[in-house]
């Protein structure tokens, strides 16, 4: 089985990318992993009302999820991240892409 890392770079308020991505991958957490970058990191805000629905989905599905630390810090939200996410820096991001057979970007 091939494993895919899905990169999301838009906030959920701005793009349907996260919704559409999760609609495909939540049912198969063995084959897919999520990573938020750029404005996509706003989806990791643990207390934001708008994020509750998909954060619950992530938690229930046990789909692994990562968020890029540098992009959180640039936006001043690194201490507000939901516990569902693991934080990685750019070096960790590079390592992560190599743990998957491919990377699929969503904008």
């Amino acid at each position: 089985m091939t494993k895919t890392l899905h990169l999301i770079n838009k906030a959920p308020q701005h793009s349907s990318a996260l919704d559409e991505c999760l609609g495909l991958i939540l049912s198969d957490p063995q084959a897919h992993t999520l990573m938020l970058i750029e404005d996509g990191v706003y989806a990791a805000l643990g207390q934001a009302d708008t994020n509750q629905h998909f954060l619950q989905g992530l938690q229930q599905s046990k789909l692994p999820a990562y968020v890029l630390m540098e992009d959180l810090e640039a936006r001043g939200i690194s201490d507000k991240v939901s516990g569902v996410f693991s934080l990685v820096d750019y070096t960790g991001f590079v390592d992560l892409t190599l743990k998957f057979s491919k990377v699929q970007s969503w904008a």
């Binding site: 091939t2 349907s16 559409e20 495909l24 084959a31 491919k102 699929q104």
Partner: protein, 122 residues
């Protein structure tokens, strides 16, 4: 150029005239086919709207890819996939589409992604 062969899945998920990405995606499809790769094209989400024939062409400066779609067959791109849920969400009928396509549900789309060596999701 190498003789290697890969399964390349190209996804068009944005509506006509929304951005340059649908055209970028189609160009990747045609090039991958020219280099004899095993290429599939999936119309996903709003991307299914490209399968409607244009009624006129002069209202936008942007190129619409719909006119190029029938030529996919010439390039031997025969694996055309379609997001069944998006078709229903947009109230489109199969018989009004420009191309015959394989209708996929989310689980089948997920499987198509898993089966690909490389995905271009534009």
């Amino acid at each position: 150029m190498t003789a290697k062969k890969q399964k390349i899945l190209v996804i068009i998920r944005q509506a006509p005239y929304s951005s340059v990405l649908p055209e970028a995606a189609l160009d990747i499809v045609l090039t991958a086919a020219a280099f004899e790769q095993e290429v599939s094209l999936l119309f996903f989400s709003q991307g299914v709207l490209h399968l409607l024939a244009q009624e006129s062409t002069d209202s936008s400066a942007m190129k619409n890819i719909s006119r190029a779609l029938p030529s996919l067959e010439l390039y031997e791109v025969n694996n055309i996939l379609l997001d069944r849920e998006a078709l229903q969400a947009n109230a489109l009928q199969e018989d009004e589409l420009l191309l015959p396509a394989k209708l996929l549900n989310p689980v089948e789309i997920s499987a198509a992604i898993a089966a690909a060596d490389q995905v271009f999701n534009c």
